[in-house]
Symmetry: C2
Subunit: 255 residues, 2 copies
């Protein structure tokens, strides 16, 4: 079983509110269809331009403080916006005859300090067993510390990798992999084809409410203990296909 | 804490696909707003004209048999249709400044023979504790017996009543309560103001994929062991208000 993270910047343009890169998602679904049902899949997607504007407007990361009525309403609105993005992805997969099935992250996870500390994956196991492709998403979540918070897609990937032990975890990004510097700011940035320890990186390609590339790598190294981890450009045709086959593409983490 | 079931025929016209009785839901939200936040609430709604047409078209109740690809896709489509109805309800509540929060039933429950046999309510407890009004819904669900099946809103109510022990469970219907016969077919049908045992009833007011009035009553009597149970007309202004206050309205179950 393969766990795939669809980065928010792959499926959506972070600078255009409520934008959806339908053609990119169609192509990703087509590449998954080369392997399904012989291979099982579970997907997690980021917030893109659906989740982040709401999360910022209501300052969800701050927790359940201040104007509580407004906070609670913003918390719910952010979740509903994420469900809309999730629905767009689900519909693309169904059109491609792939049995994607929506699972609401906030219905099953409790978090603390941004990390999942409680999560029941029994339903996910059964969905996969029955031939479905569960699709979860970065979401609002009840937090033991702050009351409410944002749960990033990367945290979900990290948790699911530990609990479900996929053979492979593939992160789809809008750049070719992990670079020694931010490739969007530095022309001389060098792609790291294989990394064995967490490198010191300068800044992130695009800033979001859930932490950027350094956090992503920290989480990915935890996962690499259990399975192969790839970072690839999800916007380039054929990349996902290559990563699933285990061919050389993007950045691979190895211990 | 009060558990409310919004019958599918209250929030939607079962004969008009994808119809939503927005004004009815607005009025229900307004009556809840008289009591929230002093009183906590959790809601479950039925499928109405969103869930049933899909569930029937793909014959979900039959289980994961026959054309499995089509079955899986229909299962997912039915869930997405329910999420759309749920979103319409959530938006009405948010407009009324009530912090409704969507919880996907199929993300937390496993069923067998139509009954919930596994369900993690920890997230629901926390949502209520933090002042939210969780709104669940009749949904598709993974079934231990048939692979996939439909989970009715009434089954969810029954399970939540046992697990969360609300002080009161109120069923909103499109008739005034429980009658000795189907009031839509018999003019001489008599409203039963109080019932102490399961009566023998003839047929159901409206047929749906999840069982009708006899099933509803059987489940309700299980609940009545734990709390007060009301059946009221959700389309009549002031009824919900009265039931919450404990005034005489509709049908009340008493042991």
């Amino acid at each position: 079983m393969i766990l795939i993270k669809l980065g928010g910047s792959v499926i959506s343009d972070k600078n255009v509110p409520y934008s959806f890169n339908k053609e990119v998602v169609e192509r990703i679904a087509e590449e998954i269809a080369h392997f399904y049902p012989a291979e099982g899949f579970i997907l997690v997607h980021g917030g893109g331009s659906f989740g982040h504007p709401n999360a910022k407007e209501y300052n969800i990361r701050e927790g359940l403080v201040g104007d509580m009525e407004r906070k609670r309403i913003g918390f719910s609105k952010t979740h509903q916006a994420m469900l809309k993005l999730n629905d767009l992805i689900i519909q693309v997969f169904l059109e491609k005859r792939l049995p994607a099935y929506s699972v609401s992250s906030s219905s099953i996870f409790l978090i603390e300090n941004g990390h999942i500390v409680y999560g029941d994956v029994e339903v996910l196991r059964r969905l996969i067993e029955k031939g479905f492709i569960p699709i979860l998403f970065g979401d609002t979540a009840i937090a033991l510390d702050k009351g409410i918070d944002i749960l990033s897609g990367d945290q979900i990937v990290s948790y699911l990798a530990k609990m479900l032990k996929p053979s492979k975890v593939i992160f789809l990004m809008d750049v070719d992999g992990i670079y020694d510097k931010n490739p969007k700011e530095h022309k001389d940035a060098k792609l790291l084809e294989e990394i064995k320890e967490i490198p010191e990186l300068e800044g992130s390609a695009g800033v979001d409410v859930t932490g950027g590339i350094n956090n992503k790598l920290k989480e990915a190294f935890k996962i690499a203990k259990y399975c192969d981890v790839y970072f690839i450009n999800g916007k380039v045709k054929g990349n996902l296909d290559k990563a699933i086959r285990g061919e050389k593409v993007g950045t691979r983490l190895r211990f």
